[in-house]
């Protein structure tokens, strides 16, 4: 099996070159931390809010359909039950929901008539998204106040979803950072192939009856091992910083491994196309840095123009981030992230097919 021989050789070249190996493992880590501290946080301008109207009075309908709908920063969706709304938080369709209790309309009427009354709203939000949650509380508070047209504050009963454990800021940031770490594997993935191009060792191997796919698979496999080690290091590091995985860790691992395969595949495509090591390196940085920024690894990409988002969504990383975030912070299962998972699988297969195609074309120039 030629690809196994190439794999074994690349692995030996990698671990015997201690400095390069250190660089390979430490580099994404340093980058991750550096960018993590620089960009950690969340900017978002539009929030999906679910409404569960148990009152069904004129006043409650007016509150939701007129007051909340007209708030610029909210997208309001109606749900029949609290369970339904909670399921949609997990799917990532909304970031919070309001339960309007029975008797809401009557209480509002009492207050309008200057009689004693208590207005109560239950707001349930995804606490993993801390800044979003606090923004929603203040938006709903002010909407309610202006709708009721009175100075008495409405008690918003915040009801954070603490499904299994305490959720921290790190839970939100870590999945993005991990995906970033996997994204910047692009420049390192093609390193050995590009070096072999430079020394013409690759050309020498091409004088044997080895097929293009065997080269691509052979060169990729050693990087897959490095990628798996990296994923574990990243998760461990996230855990040390206080990240808890609510969902299925194996599902998260599958997402991360697929993401790393995509990076390796892109690295292979670039290495197959590039004429020299310098060219390949420049090309991969030029490609991966902007992609990192628009893929939502550091902040929400909702404020980006739609064409940029469409471009970003055509690459695996924005899908990886949202799927990983859903699993880690909301405990989403395969039914919620299925489409992202499928996208990653298709992308992985496609990028390796494309890589092999370019390699074959380059093999006999």
């Amino acid at each position: 099996m030629s690809f196994l021989s190439i794999f074994k050789r690349t692995l030996k070249e990698t671990y015997r070159d201690a400095l390069a190996l250190l660089f390979l493992l430490a580099f994404p880590l340093v980058f991750m931390l550096l960018f993590g501290f620089a960009f950690g946080g969340e900017i978002s301008v539009n929030y999906g809010v679910g409404i569960v109207d148990n009152d069904q009075s004129e006043i409650s309908k007016g509150f939701t359909d007129n007051a909340l709908q007209s708030a610029d920063m909210l997208t309001v969706k109606n749900y029949a039950s609290a369970d339904d709304a909670l399921a949609n938080i997990k799917l990532g369709n909304i970031s919070s929901y309001i339960v309007i209790p029975e008797g809401f309309g009557e209480e509002v009427m009492l207050i309008w008539q200057k009689l004693p009354g208590e207005i109560k709203l239950d707001l349930i939000y995804d606490e993993s998204d801390l800044s979003t949650a606090s923004n929603i509380i203040s938006i709903i508070n002010s909407v309610a106040r202006s709708y009721a047209n009175i100075e008495i504050p409405i008690t918003v009963k915040t009801n954070p979803i603490n499904i299994e454990s305490k959720i921290t800021q790190m839970d939100f940031i870590a999945p993005g950072i991990i995906v970033f770490g996997l994204l910047i594997m692009i420049p390192t993935a093609g390193r050995i192939m590009l070096r072999d191009k430079g020394t013409r060792f690759l050309q020498r191997m091409m004088t044997t009856p080895t097929r293009p796919w065997e080269f691509i698979v052979g060169y990729s496999l050693s990087m897959v091992i490095i990628a798996i080690i990296q994923v574990f290091v990243f998760i461990l590091l996230g855990w040390l910083f206080g990240m808890d995985i609510i969902g299925n860790i194996w599902l998260a691992l599958v997402i991360f491994v697929l993401t790393s395969l995509c990076s390796i595949g892109i690295g292979m495509v670039i290495a197959s196309l590039a004429k020299s090591e310098n060219q390949g390196e420049a090309l991969s940085w030029l490609f991966s840095m902007p992609l990192a920024i628009i893929s939502g690894v550091w902040f929400s990409i909702e404020f980006l123009p739609s064409y940029v988002r469409i471009f970003a969504d055509s690459f695996p990383y924005s899908h990886a981030v949202s799927a990983a975030r859903a699993i880690i912070t909301r405990g989403a299962g395969i039914e919620a992230i299925g489409s992202d998972l499928l996208f990653l699988v298709i992308w992985t297969i496609a990028v390796f097919v494309v890589g092999t195609f370019f390699f074959r074309r380059n093999m006999r120039s």
Binding site: M1, S2, L4, S5, I6, R9, K12, E13, R16, D17, T199, R200, F201, Q203, R204, M205, M206, T207, T208, P209, T210, R211, M363, R364, S365
Partner: protein, 320 residues
């Protein structure tokens, strides 16, 4: 001039290891290899001799299926380089111009890698790798990483790697480039040993190398084969002049002038006279000088070298 791909079907001839049919490669506007038609017999050591940039490596790259011909084709051990590149690759062993080894691997590991890439059975790979390390005199360093090797050792391993699959055709691109004369002799010895069993195609820009090793030489310049034959054929056929070198005291100006009138080229410097012409009679010249009062210290006929052949054909020196 470049012609179209020939319409004739390349017909395999069993007695040839390599047959090229109007083999041509163009890079942009540069014609690197220009309609080469060449037959290399099985069991022959054939040398491509030419200066840097003559088209030697380009020709070899096409024969190894690393480069597609712009037009024309070649048969390597009967396999068409355009139609069946993988069959071609399985019957050749290539030692490229640059020493290309995997630096962090030992010589055994380097050899085994190529044995595996040639899809040899694992047991055979191990045996051949061991054998070749011994043949090349590297057994003491068999388990050291190649990056710690000297240039000469790397060169020897570079050649050994072309032999791991025991191919019927071995292609050596500048096998002694950059080696000191002593190491070069060692490599020559190995190549000479190969020549008895294998077909060897060698490129070089060292005249002595081609002269010493090759059964036949093809002189290549500007992408064309400008002369073809054994070293002796080339020297006798291509050089139609002879040169006589005489060292003498007391050479009179008058004598020199008279000789310059008679012969095409007469040069004198520091008491050494070099006379070149199509017809020079050694005895006549020596007698003439003697009678004119010159005291002859030595006189000999200079054998033509391949360099002379090269200058004669291309009008320039091989080493620039």
């Amino acid at each position: 001039m470049i012609t179209e791909t020939p319409l004739f079907e390349a017909k395999p001839d069993d007695s040839f290891a390599i047959q090229t049919f109007n083999l041509t490669r163009i890079f942009g506007k540069v014609v690197a290899v220009d309609n080469i038609n060449l037959n290399v017999k099985k069991g022959e050591l054939f040398a491509f001799l030419g200066p840097n940039g003559a088209g030697k490596t380009t020709s070899i790259s096409m024969l190894c299926c690393l480069l597609k011909p712009s037009s024309g084709t070649a048969l390597v051990m009967g396999h068409d380089i355009n139609k069946s590149p993988y069959q071609v690759k399985s019957v050749i062993g290539v030692s490229p111009q640059d020493t290309t080894l995997s630096d962090f691997l030992t010589p055994i590991e380097n050899l085994e890698l190529f044995g595996n890439l040639h899809r040899l059975p694992p047991k055979q790979v191990k045996e051949r790798a061991r054998e070749l390390v011994e043949t090349m005199g590297l057994e003491d360093r068999a388990n050291d990483q190649v990056r710690r090797f000297s240039g000469g050792m790397k060169r020897r391993l570079n050649i050994a790697m072309a032999l791991i699959n025991d191919p019927p055709l071995i292609i050596l691109d500048e096998p002694t480039l950059g080696l000191d004369p002593q190491s070069r002799r060692v490599v020559w010895k190995y190549i000479a040993r190969l020549k008895k069993e294998k077909t060897v195609l060698l490129t070089t820009h060292y005249l002595e190398e081609a002269d010493f090793l090759a059964d036949r030489i093809g002189i290549i310049d500007g992408g064309k084969i400008v002369a073809l034959g054994t070293a002796l054929d080339l020297k006798t056929d291509m050089i139609d002049t002879r040169t006589i070198v005489v060292k003498a005291w007391n050479l009179a100006q008058k004598t020199i002038a008279q000789l310059q009138e008679k012969y095409e080229d007469v040069q004198v410097s520091n008491g050494t006279m070099t006379i070149t012409d199509k017809q020079v009679d050694f005895k006549e010249i020596v007698d003439y000088l003697h009678n004119s009062g010159a005291i002859i210290r030595s006189a000999h006929i200079k054998e033509p070298t391949l360099d002379d052949v090269f200058i004669n054909i291309t009008g320039k020196e091989l080493r620039e």
